[in-house]
């Protein structure tokens, strides 16, 4: 290894690494924050249209997806605890469960979107011309916000996939698991964003 590369790795700073991750999470939070501002503004401008549009979203799918994400968050947290106790295998299984749950979330999302698209409710879709302004905006925000969230789920799953590899190769161990913790932080953030998206889109009555 040359000296140049050595500088960055001269010492390990877990707290610094975690701090970097948290700061990155803030940027994600404010990325969605910008959309929450839009959501709040338009909901204020079109309260009735939003109510009508939200009726057409499937609360059951939304609820199931919420439980899936919460549980996957739990297993990530547990997997760190397992690694700390040197239960490497258990830790990997828990992460695999997370990937399965995250995958199931995406599958549900896929069916939800395709039902809507099937009914012609999508940007420039045939049904959109019959909708009021507020409903068009609602679905616009719905597609963008849940779509961007789904993108984050995919990225999170890829991160966790890497973590499984790292654990199996012994690069993340009971006394060196900051990468796993950072991946976990990212996954929890994805969960938190959904915690807010869910009532705002599915539970307006």
């Amino acid at each position: 290894m040359n000296n140049e590369a050595a500088i960055g790795h001269a010492h390990r700073d877990d707290l610094g690494s975690k701090m970097g991750m948290w700061l990155f999470l803030f940027t994600e939070l404010l990325l969605f924050g910008g959309m929450f501002i839009l959501y709040a503004s338009y909901r204020y401008m079109y309260p009735d249209n939003f109510k009508v549009a939200a009726m057409h979203l499937d609360t059951l799918i939304g609820s199931v997806n919420t439980i899936l994400l919460l549980t996957s968050s739990l297993t990530v947290a547990l997997s760190i605890a397992a690694l700390q106790r040197k239960q490497t295998r258990f830790s990997v299984y828990l992460l695999m469960f997370t990937i399965v749950a995250g995958g199931a979330f995406l599958v549900n999302k896929y069916f939800e979107w395709s039902t809507k698209i099937h009914h012609g409710i999508y940007p420039k879709g045939p049904e959109m011309a019959n909708l009021s302004d507020g409903e068009v905006i609602f679905y616009g925000l719905y597609y963008v916000m849940t779509g961007l969230h789904a993108l984050h789920v995919i990225v999170g799953l890829v991160f966790i996939g890497f973590m499984i590899v790292f654990i199996l190769r012994g690069k993340q161990t009971f006394d060196n698991y900051q990468k796993l913790e950072n991946a976990g932080l990212y996954w929890h953030l994805v969960d938190i964003i959904w915690i807010f998206l869910f009532p705002l889109f599915y539970l307006i009555h």
């Binding site: 924050g33 501002i37 204020y44 547990l78 009532p199």
Partner: protein
């Protein structure tokens, strides 16, 4: 560096499962409440429950409760700025589109 050794007690599996049960319980409540007509309080209750849920996730799953205090300050700054921005935006909206 001393911070790397993670000196604090590792939280047990039990705590995480209790927190998870709480989160699922709150989800059930918020879905159930959506069935009632709470008039103006619908958004408020839904958001209040969401805030409690996210506090549970950040404090326990994300370890903010036991972590260095600097993260609490950071989170506070981030949330404060977001709130300030949304409040100032609403000074425009609420007076531009007054409620009937």
């Amino acid at each position: 560096m001393s911070e790397n050794t993670h000196t604090q007690e590792h939280p047990g599996y039990g705590l995480y499962i209790v927190v998870w049960a709480g989160l699922v319980g709150l989800t059930t409540i918020t879905v159930a409440l959506a069935g009632f007509n709470l008039v103006g309080l619908t958004v408020v209750t839904a958001l209040a429950i969401a805030i409690v849920k996210s506090l549970l996730v950040t404090n326990y799953f994300m370890h903010v409760k036991t972590d260095s205090a600097v993260f609490k300050v950071f989170i506070f700054v981030c949330i404060a700025i977001f709130l300030v921005v949304i409040i100032l935006t609403f000074f425009d909206l609420t007076y531009r589109f007054p409620l009937k």
